[in-house]
């Protein structure tokens, strides 16, 4: 494989912008830069202004939520061929997560202000960029929902179910007699008659 020797080539090779029209690609290139992050360094931090997004060329990035006095929780990892950051598309353009390089990361970064300006001025570019971002946002929303379902968690212990059943039985006292109890009552009635 011939290694791309310029930004346009790098951009063209990245799966995210696969098939983009050369005229739009050239507009994007004006806002792009090559970046490199050592393992452990931060790509961006929660709360910062979302003035960049990244196309990951190699390496792995952890999207994290910081929590006081505890290690950060990793909610997702992003790797080669994927994109990190979409807060730059949504006002007020503030980052909602931390992004940390887990390994050496090589990425194309995009100046968000520059790109937003070009997207306003050139609707075809705006449409193309949003068309590429939307499926990823939808996929990640769906994936986050699945994560929230905690599908691999152990089922609730039988004890809890039993306690619930007992509570329910107490509530419906009188209407929830066992067949034995009903039989005894019927026999008693028969004896009386």
């Amino acid at each position: 494989m011939v290694k791309p020797d310029n930004l346009a080539g790098v951009l063209q090779e990245h799966p995210f912008f696969q098939g983009i029209a050369p005229s739009l690609r050239d507009l994007l290139v004006g806002c792009a830069a090559n970046e490199r992050f050592e393992a452990g360094s931060m790509l961006f931090r929660q709360g910062d202004s979302a003035d960049k997004f990244y196309l990951i060329r190699s390496g792995t990035v952890a999207i994290e939520i910081d929590q006081p006095a505890r290690p950060p929780i990793v909610v997702e990892t992003i790797t080669e061929g994927e994109v990190a950051g979409w807060s730059w598309l949504v006002p007020p353009y503030r980052l909602t997560f931390d992004a940390r390089a887990l390994t050496l990361v090589r990425a194309l970064s995009f100046d968000a202000q520059c790109l937003r300006r070009k997207m306003e001025a050139e609707p075809a570019l705006g449409y193309d960029v949003l068309r590429r971002f939307l499926p990823i946002m939808a996929h990640r929303l769906s994936a986050s929902r699945l994560q929230m379902l905690d599908l691999y968690a152990p089922p609730k212990p039988a004890k809890v179910k039993k306690e619930k059943a007992e509570k329910a039985a107490k509530k419906s006292k009188g209407t929830n007699r066992s067949p034995d109890a009903r039989l005894k009552k019927a026999k008693k009635k028969d004896a009386k008659s």
Binding site: T60, A62, I63, E64, R70, P71, P72, I73, V74, V75, E76, T77, T79, G81, R100, L102, H139, S142, A143, L146, Q147, L149, D150, L151, Y152, A153, P154, P155, A158
Partner: protein, 278 residues
């Protein structure tokens, strides 16, 4: 060929040879027939394990189908019978009926890329098929194992996954739903790994096993990648009781999962996944 048992409704006594704790609530037992002999099965099949005086549970066979000398079951302790199973020790006896059900059609994937997608303890029913694929490795294109667990502590067969990952002819990708900074691997649902690809969708067979919701989404992700739904197989669990299609407890639409399943071709059951009442 499977050695026929005298009567599918009569449990055969097996002795527990070894017990290994995999996770806090999951354990693997190695069993041998008390009367001696071998036990043959196809990957994906299950047995009814009978804890004397307590009850029976359907448990997938998780050992190597080429090794007939020992029967391996990985079980998660979640109910009365599985908790009783968990309490058994080497030397104890239990009853075994089986093997029952359909199997992963490993041979139908010859010449294809083979993608295993497993979630949680769903790796256990897939493991025999992975062994079989590795034993016939030259007959496949790429062989990929995609595995999703809850946390790094909940990864089943961790050492074995590490060993598989060390092979040059097997790709193993593991992801967890949640992790802290100490975990350096993937975080996210297993469908993310499917989306990343690494296989030729037009020439891929996939076996999927895990919680039903996970299987549905994994099958959709494979389909979205371009894998033919007729080449996706899933393993479905219902309330198996008799194991041979007599009692009807495990009915799932027009199927009895014990007899027509547990392994189904996805295109034949995809509609059933959408019916909430089932």
């Amino acid at each position: 060929m499977n050695a026929p048992l005298p009567d599918p409704m009569v449990p055969v006594p097996f002795r527990i040879e070894k017990v290994r704790r995999d996770l806090s609530d999951t354990f693997t037992m190695e069993l041998v027939p008390e009367a001696g002999g071998e036990f043959a099965f196809q990957p994906g099949q299950f047995n009814m394990l009978y804890v004397f005086g307590v009850g029976e549970v359907p448990i997938s066979i998780s050992g190597d189908p080429a090794d007939r000398s020992v029967l391996v079951h990985t079980t998660r302790s979640v109910g009365q019978v599985t908790e009783a199973l968990d309490a058994l020790k080497p030397g104890d006896s239990l009853g075994v009926r089986g093997p029952f059900g359909t199997s992963w059609p490993v041979e139908s994937a010859f010449g294809h890329d083979l993608v295993f997608v497993a979630g949680g303890v769903g790796l256990a029913p897939l493991r025999p098929a992975i062994y079989q694929a590795m034993a016939n490795r030259e007959r496949f294109g790429r062989v990929i194992v995609l595995y999703g667990a809850r946390t790094p502590e909940d990864i089943l067969y961790k050492k074995e996954l590490e060993r598989w990952r060390g092979r040059f002819d097997l790709d193993v990708l593991v992801t967890v739903d949640r992790a802290t900074g100490r975990w350096g691997g993937n975080v996210g649902v297993v469908t993310n790994l499917v989306a990343r690809g690494g296989f030729d969708p037009l020439n891929t067979t996939s076996f999927v096993c895990g919680p039903e919701v996970m299987m549905r989404y994994a099958a959709q992700a494979l389909e979205k990648k371009g894998v033919d739904t007729g080449r996706i197989w899933v393993s479905v669990e219902r309330n198996m009781k008799c194991g041979c299609g007599l009692c009807g407890h495990c009915q799932w639409g027009p199927h009895f999962t014990c007899k027509d399943g547990p392994v189904f071709r996805y295109d034949r059951v995809a509609d059933l996944f959408q019916i909430r009442e089932l």
